[in-house]
Symmetry: C2
Subunit: 354 residues, 2 copies
DNA sequence: ATCCCCAGGGTAACCGATTACATTGCACAT
DNA sequence: ATGTGCAATGTAATCGGTTACCCTGGGGAT
């Protein structure tokens, strides 16, 4: 189809080796010949076929990225930043979206193998890790997120959710909140467990309280947040603040709260995690925990380089800090109880059950 | 690196040709041999190297997609759907984001050439089309959006913005609006022009009015929408409704309006275009024009197939319908003027200047 | 017994680049 | 004149698959 190096060589009256040397800037070619060949390359719109280079060199110059949900702005921003990082390094991105389906994840990994990518950034640790083995077996470096497991060639970037959650709960306590609910991720996923535990730890450390009915599962999406809030508000008593496992969940929670006629933060405070752009747009703007995307992407990249340099050495664990961003969805805890269906009720939050 | 077909052949005690035949399901191999080889392939985690296949076959099985702004949820959704479509067809996606920079676009195209992609979906028609020529020269099919130009190997998908805008303006007229403003895209971009003209045509056709100060440029982002709304509200008189070139712009406009203390839609109606998920979340939920992503993606794909089948025949033009989605950001036109700084003013919209 | 056919499988060229090694030719030393 | 050294360029193997073509051997027809 498109012109090859041999075609260029023929036109220039030289061998393909010389053309290759010009392309790669080897010094062994006369300036005059170099110019002549470069001119022809220009005229023919020639660019070397990377599949051929790949075959010869063993490096595909492609990095894979597997995300669980492209419609989540957080992941989308990560894709964007990661792609920029790759382009700066003359690399390309092979993107895969699992949509939380493990079949789709397996196929994604298969595609990564097909292309012999130079590394895979795996942001979908929600899934079972088994299939990642086949990447490592093929000596493809992998960097996971919140996976809490490493191996030679497999590094892990851990978001310091524990610390972030501590900041958030401290903030809520300072606002007078004593009873706090939590809307998590999907049940059964590793990250969901970690986040819920971090929340509980922070609650306990600061001597605050929660209860089973206030700790519900979500799905890291708006819908799950809305349903989760509905479940919490359906309890006999409700907490004065609700923390969500991510911003989409928090936004869903906001919507439900509005629909039920609750004012935020006057009646109930809501906080999220991720700091997506949308969080500053919704009403009220969301208090949340921010992760630096650039730092995150850089860590992913570094983790892959680490694995690529020497596949035998053990994987690294890098910790990524979070920082609280206070906006208007959190405010002073209501003096009066937040009991549903009785907004005028003056009673403080009581412990009916237990 | 990873195992090759020859390694498999050696282990199975056959030639690489036989292994290849097994992989590709050729009937020339004994069932028994087939099973034995398949077993070894399984055990070794072998998958054929696509770069090698590409080299031999001339098909890279990669499609490129170039978008102007990945942080725009509309494009992100398009990426997601298009990727799904490709995966269904055992193809892969090479994603490029230009961030509205023409240098980045040129580099993106260069990367598409490097990989010898089988086709490029170009959603960034905001840019000059020149660099696309190099794709066509290399016989890579291209499908553009709202590009209003075709050529052999280059098809174009045109969003029927004219019709959509007519629906929207009709809706606003039925609500009693007579004076309508418009916040467009960045100045100098082709799509911006088209959208502005469609707006003006619709206005004129229905006998409504606008004026220079109410027709401002944006940047297809929230910031531009906010600034655009600020400019419109800074006029001596303001329209009763504002239409934005896309939803992000409309959302920015909403924010400014809120900050200025205007109630929506009581004081001023706002409408957008795209129907991104966020539009149903913001307050108030946005009236907008919806494009079916699936249909759009399918058209892009079909356009590329069309070019691939026979590169010499002229490109197709496909038209994509829009459909109005009425939500709460548009309402009855205020009886009383929407003059800024005088919310209690009972005067109807007056024409001070001109 | 001889020949033919064909199923099953091997051989080797090829795709487009890279690169170790070989070759050429010219300047300069002896 | 001959050899030496080096710069400029050519030759050919190679990467991992695919496939046109070739080879082999056993069964059936004559």
């Amino acid at each position: 189809m498109s012109v090859s190096i041999h075609e260029i060589a023929r036109l220039a009256g030289v061998s393909s080796a010389t053309v290759s040397r010009v392309i790669n800037g080897s010094s062994r070619v006369t300036p005059e010949t170099t110019r002549r060949i470069q001119r022809i390359i220009q005229d023919c719109n020639f660019v070397p076929n990377r599949s051929a280079v790949h075959l010869k060199h063993g490096k595909s110059q492609i990095y894979g990225m597997i995300v669980p949900d492209l419609t989540n702005p957080f992941f989308m921003e990560m894709v964007k930043i990661f792609e920029e990082l790759l382009v700066e390094n003359e690399l390309e991105l092979l993107l895969a979206n699992t949509d939380f389906h493990s079949t789709r994840m397996q196929r994604s990994i298969h595609r990564m193998l097909l292309r012999r990518v130079d590394g895979v950034a795996f942001l979908a640790s929600e899934h079972e890790a088994g299939p990642l083995e086949s990447l490592v077996k093929n000596r493809i470096p992998v960097v996971t997120t919140d996976h809490y497991r490493t191996a030679p060639g497999m590094s892990d970037i851990v978001v310091d959710f524990r610390n972030g959650m501590a900041q958030l709960i401290l903030h809520l306590r300072d606002l007078g909140h004593r009873t706090i609910g939590f809307i998590g991720g999907s049940d059964g996923l590793a990250t969901s467990r970690i986040r819920r535990e971090s929340f509980l730890d922070a609650i306990v450390k600061l001597g605050l309280s929660s209860r089973d009915g206030w700790i519900v599962a979500g799905d890291y999406r708006i819908g799950g947040g809305a349903a989760g809030m509905e479940a919490i508000l359906g309890q006999d008593e409700i907490p004065t603040a609700v923390v969500a496992a991510n911003d989409l969940t928090a936004i869903g929670a906001l919507r439900t709260a509005h629909q039920k006629g609750l004012r935020i933060p006057d009646d109930i405070s809501v906080a999220g995690c991720d700091d997506i752009e949308m969080s500053d747009i919704v009403y009220p703007p969301l208090t949340t925990l921010r992760i630096s995307r650039r730092q995150y992407a850089q860590m992913l990249f570094d983790g892959l380089q680490w694995g690529a340099e020497d596949f035998t050495r053990p994987g690294k664990v890098l910790s990524l800090p979070m920082k609280i961003v206070v906006r208007e969805s959190t405010g002073l805890a209501p003096r009066r109880g937040g009991r549903r269906n009785s907004p005028g009720n003056g009673a403080s939050v009581t412990r009916k059950s237990r």
